[in-house]
Structure formats: structure tokens, C-alpha cells
Symmetry: C2
Subunit: 268 residues, 2 copies
């Protein structure tokens, strides 16, 4: 049976998240509905990341096993014709047998977007977190440098016990704080993320940017492994899943085996 | 009684337009509600432009007469605390006696935004018109040049009889077609606009950009004064009222008297 990897973009504003739920609208439910509409009922659509309610995706990935082969571009058009305006498949790739969108991910990239403005903005408010006071982006950048590498990120999750099977040690390959035309972006790439990790990291860095905390404070919070030391969990609307990383040929062989279970744990 | 000029930004997605209506949500109704909430009930909020359903504003202007003076920054904060997320006052200025936001406007600037993408975009779809095929921006720019100046724009309105008291001659000071990172912006500045004029102009220019029509076609349509010759009325979500122009001191003396009634007619 042919397997496909879908790159999916969505505006998370009107969804309780990626994951199918009994009594709440989800992106996964819309995907299942679209497959049913193109005469592929009962398929499973396995997402790489369980994005939370209100979180957006530019490059969510999901695999699906179909009972007959499709031309990739036809599958894309057929699905998009049956998806709502705020969800759209961006790319379809044939995936090898045994491929799993979540287990074979090598990592993910997220961006948390803030707009700095004395006056409350009204347009696009579902796509950024509004910051009233001007921030010191350079201080945030210096403070964030300590996050790169393998660390116990227990201080930066709202649920260190989720999932139970893994601890709270994760590896971040890249952490950037970039000034934008209207504020700043906090972008992060890691092999796996704890629950709400990007949003707590962004909230903590904002404490430094606001001048409430010194630059060295982030390293102290990290070392504390204590959630109560960190900053606020910023709201979901500023968060975008940018990309899910795979080996170029989508082969499981390209994956660091140590990451397989870690990504199962991803719940940002 | 003190008069104030408000600059107002809003996401028009959830409103039937600026203008108060009996059975539909409007931006003006939200403004009246906010004034009532800050203990200024029964005021009139006169907008410079009656933006249509789904049209956004970055710089709508409206004047209001209050029964007591306010510190401008306090009025701004009080109103914004009582407005929904998708409407926010951006600036408050004291206005001279006799000032009228609509009658004393010297002109307005609009932008119509298109995103060009082979694949349907999912994020921010309420803020642009999606164009599937690549477009020739330079051809659109050359085609648009003939629109600058005073012309009879009857071909580019969906209701040449509205309003009845004025004809269909208007003056455009600036017309630009600008390539953006994701597509193109059509920006236009004029002393007054006919009903749906910017959206019909954008739809007509797109015919040239798509290669469906030659560059000289826009001038032919303009000369025809026949709506049936022009392109489609593009949907409202790509349209933003950017700015309402006044004399620097907001004095009516700064206004070309010929514009006073023309702007009364503005219904874009």
C-alpha cells in the first residue's frame, strides 16, 4: 500500500489543536474528513507534532497509508479542494514503507512571534503576541545562548510528567532571537520539545527583554529545573510550527536512534 | 464641547463594515458601545470612510464630540480597554470646532494585497486575495499609469448611481503596483472613490497581470465608462484603508472645496 508524507499549513485559531478530540474541532479531524471526501475513508493521518489549541503550522507533517497510488500533485489538489480555508496541504511526497512522520522526524523548528507596540494592534492579532513595552533584543539573544545543546529543560515545561516514558532532557540545535519590522521572533530548532516548552522559553526570554531579569537569569532558571522559577507561558497565537526535519530521502536510517522516542514525546 | 479625531485600526473579517446596521455587527456599533462603557453614552462617531463588509482598516478616521475634555492618551486607553480584540484606536487628536472627519478629508489611501502561490495558502487568508498563477507586475504597473489624474471611473464601480448627488469623475493622485515577498500590492491614493472602485481596479489590473489582457486594455476600459468591460470585483479581504488625509492642522481651510462633496460619496 502506498504511503505519502504531507506538508500541512494551518491557522490554528479555530482548532483545539492537531489531535483528534471527541467534542472539539481539530485539524486531524478535518484531514480525515477530506480523505473521506476523496473516497479514502477510514485512513489514519499520523501527525509529526501534536500542536496545541490555537498554535499555527506552516510545515506540520503527517503520513498516510492509502489503498491505491495517487499522483502526488493530484492528491494535493483533491485534498485542498475538500479542506477548509484555514488548512491546506502544501506538498505531497511519496514515503518509503515503514516511514513514520513522528518517529522518523530528526527535529522540529518553531517560531514564537511578538509584536512590540505601545498601542494595541487590531490586525493579525491571531498571529502574534502583543508586547506593550520596548524590549532589548540583544539582551534576549545573549540570554538565550545558554539554551543551545543538551539540557534538562524541566523548568521550561508546564507538565514535566508528560509523557511519562521520557525525562525532561532535550537537545536544542539552534536558538535565535531576531528583530523584525514590528517586534521580534524567537526561533528554535530541537530534536524534541517538552509540553509548552517554546511558549515558556519565550515568556522567560521576554522577562529579560523587558528588563525585569538580568541576562544571566535564563541560565539560572535552566539550572534550577524548577518551573516556578521561569517566566509565563505565552499564549498559543504567537507560536508557529515551521518545519519538521527528516533525512533527505525520508529514510529512517537518517535518524539518530536516540531521537525516536523523544519525538514521540513532542507535545508543543 | 471638545471634539476629537480618532485613528482606528480594525480587522473587518467579522463585521458587515464600518457603518452601523440594524441586524449586523459593525465597527461603528462597537465604537458606540465603547463610548457608552466609558460613560459617554449617546455620542455620534462619524467615520471618514464607509468601509464595506470584510474590508480592513489600518487608518480609518472618525470624529466624536464629547461633553467633557479628555487627555488624549487617556481616551485612547479607555476606549481600547472596551473594544474587542479586532478593533483598536491607534491615535487620538484634539480637533478644531467645525471639523468633520468625512467632509474635511483631502483624500484616502488604500492597498489591495494579493498573494501569488501555486498552492492554496492557509495562514492569514483573511488578509489577502489568493492568486494561483504568477503575474507580470511590471505589465500591471505600466497598465495602471493611465489611471492617475482626473477621469470618469464609471467602468470601475459596481454602482455608478451611488451616491446620486455626484457623478463618476474622481481624481487619483497616486497609483502603484509593488512586488512584495509573497505577491503584489496595489496601492492607490485619491480624493474620493466610487463604490467598490479599488476592488474593481485591482480585478482589472489582475487581468493584465495574468496575461488575459494587454497592457493598453485598462485605458480602453477607462474610456468605455462601461462596468461590463472591466475585470472582476475582487473579494473584500485583500483591501485595507491605509490612511485618511487631512490638512496638517486639521483645518477645513486646508481642503480643496471641490473635494468636500466627493468624499461624502466615498463608499469603498
Amino acid at each position: 500500500m502506498p504511503k505519502y508524507l504531507l506538508d500541512i499549513a494551518y491557522d490554528g485559531s479555530n482548532y483545539s489543536g492537531w489531535q483528534w478530540q471527541d467534542n472539539a474541532p481539530s485539524v486531524q479531524a478535518q484531514m480525515l474528513r477530506a480523505f473521506a471526501a476523496i473516497d479514502c475513508p477510514g485512513v489514519k493521518v499520523e501527525g509529526a507534532s501534536r500542536t496545541d489549541a490555537g498554535v499555527h503550522a506552516i510545515g506540520q507533517c503527517a503520513h498516510v497509508l492509502l489503498d491505491r497510488p495517487w499522483v502526488e500533485s493530484s492528491l494535493l489538489l483533491a485534498l485542498n479542494a475538500n479542506l477548509p480555508d484555514d488548512i491546506a496541504v502544501q506538498r505531497v511526497r511519496a514515503a518509503p514503507e515503514g516511514f513514520h512522520a513522528r518517529f522518523h522526524s530528526r527535529g522540529k523548528r518553531y517560531v514564537y512571534r511578538c509584536v512590540v507596540s505601545r498601542v494595541r494592534p487590531a490586525i493579525g492579532r491571531q498571529y502574534f503576541h502583543w508586547v506593550r513595552r520596548s524590549v532589548d533584543v540583544a539582551a534576549m539573544r545573549r540570554a538565550a545562548a545558554c539554551l543551545v545543546g543538551q539540557h534538562d529543560f524541566a523548568a521550561f515545561t508546564t507538565n514535566p510528567g508528560y509523557p511519562r516514558k521520557r525525562g525532561t532532557v532535550r537537545t536544542l540545535q539552534r536558538v535565535h532571537v531576531i528583530r523584525t519590522a514590528r517586534g521580534f521572533d524567537f526561533t528554535v530548532q530541537g530534536s524534541g520539545f517538552l509540553y509548552n516548552m517554546v511558549r515558556v522559553l519565550a515568556g522567560s526570554l521576554l522577562e529579560v527583554g523587558n528588563g525585569n531579569r538580568p541576562e544571566g537569569w535564563i541560565a539560572e532558571v535552566l539550572a534550577s529545573r524548577d518551573r516556578r522559577q521561569a517566566g509565563a507561558t505565552l499564549p498559543p497565537n504567537g507560536l508557529f510550527l515551521l518545519q519538521v526535519l527528516y533525512a533527505p530521502d525520508l529514510s529512517p536510517a537518517g535518524v539518530d536512534p536516540g531521537l525516536l522516542v523523544a519525538d514521540d514525546a513532542d507535545a508543543e
